[in-house]
Symmetry: C2
Subunit: 241 residues, 2 copies
């Protein structure tokens, strides 16, 4: 399992992903699920992935290779004219990788993977997409300003309630850490460290990034503080009579 | 889908269940998922159910019929010597109903149902069990003082964090309403009204019960108050730097 969130605010985009992959409870590893591409001043792209690790690694490797040696038949991530075309390109690679992995005549469910793509290309707005294993995709909107992939349920209630489009990057990171902490406490297959990446609208450069390790003082402050804050909030609610 | 919780505190047992059943998004109905049996001064039993509605109704009907016309081969819920034997009896009925529903040679997964059983019989302690579709069961403990059936993920983080064995019935109801509200906000197949039942340890009588309708003032106060309380708690956490 996995937990990744891409979130859009008035200021830009914020991404967070866990790093645990598992093939059974007794076979766990650490892999980053966040991949970034950047041409400073021209384009920035961030891709988060959940699902079959062979599929997600194949997709990012193909995208990487093409960006280093593009040809006419195989357009590169670094040449797409818009984020929409970037999402189409990634979607087509996803579909191809999953289809090729499935034995003839069988379903490809075991090889499925989902992706969150965010970024900006000069001349366009920052955009955030959710790409399905089938290769098609949806875009975020004011009504749905964030996407989650993987184990999304535990961390969703706080995202719904505390998200505010005008929030600062600092508050967005705090919100994502609370959401991840709730998930980490409930599902063993989501694990630390966490990768975080900020993109500021119009900057056309990757913003600050950080890896939150198990002993990160801010992560610990949020994790412990949130339990206390929740209890305090709970006690302030009116009593049942 | 369904959401039911049975929770054990130092004072007794508290149960809550939603009432929505669905066979597709366009085919929803309201059925209570809580069933109680009582012989005042001698025994009290509360059963919550999740899963195939035909299965859960058959189980409670069989238990009901037997309690009205018991015979030697078919022991009644009202004759069991202990809560453990009650759980065994219900487990055997569950297993039988599910097995009989499955076409020959096929799996019975579509007919599966899970149950939470709580109560007390004179001479014993109050006990809380989780009964699996296979008919076997587990009992709550100090480490795991509550059971959830159905859509358990959204409402679990607050239960983990705010539960306290010494909490009052009033606080337990408040906690369950917060947990249900998070679930109602995220999963359409969990729906109001909510049924609530209290059992006070040693009383051997059903305690207060209540149905929370959509316009219940206390439910509305919790639902609205919790959003505000969460936001306030979130803002009190230390900012990210």
């Amino acid at each position: 399992m996995t937990y990744c969130v891409g979130l859009k605010t008035d200021q830009g985009l914020v991404f967070m992903s866990d790093t645990r992959t598992n093939a059974g409870l007794d076979n766990i590893s650490t892999f980053s699920k966040m991949r970034t591409w950047e041409v400073p001043g021209e384009r920035v792209m961030v891709l988060l992935s959940a699902g079959n690790l062979a599929t997600t690694q194949a997709v990012t490797s193909i995208l990487d290779e093409r960006s280093k040696a593009p040809d006419e038949r195989n357009p590169s991530l670094l040449d797409t004219p818009s984020m929409f075309q970037t999402a189409r390109l990634i979607g087509s690679v996803v579909k191809e990788v999953i289809r090729d992995a499935a034995p003839a005549g069988q379903t490809a469910d075991a090889f499925a993977a989902s992706f969150i793509l965010g970024g900006q290309i000069k001349g366009g707005e920052p955009r955030l997409f959710y790409i399905y294993p089938e290769g098609n995709f949806i875009e975020s909107s004011a009504d749905t300003p964030f996407f989650q992939v993987g184990e999304h349920k535990y961390g969703k209630p706080i995202l719904i309630r505390a998200y505010d489009p005008s929030m600062s990057f600092e508050d967005a990171i705090k919100l994502l850490l609370v959401s991840f902490d709730s998930t980490l406490k409930s599902n063993l297959s989501v694990g630390l460290p966490l990768d975080m990446q900020i993109y500021e609208s119009g900057s056309l450069r990757l913003g600050p990034s950080r890896r939150f390790e198990r002993d990160d003082p801010y992560y610990l402050a949020i994790s412990e503080g949130w339990s206390e804050a929740l209890k305090a909030a709970f006690h302030r609610l009116p009593p049942f009579k």
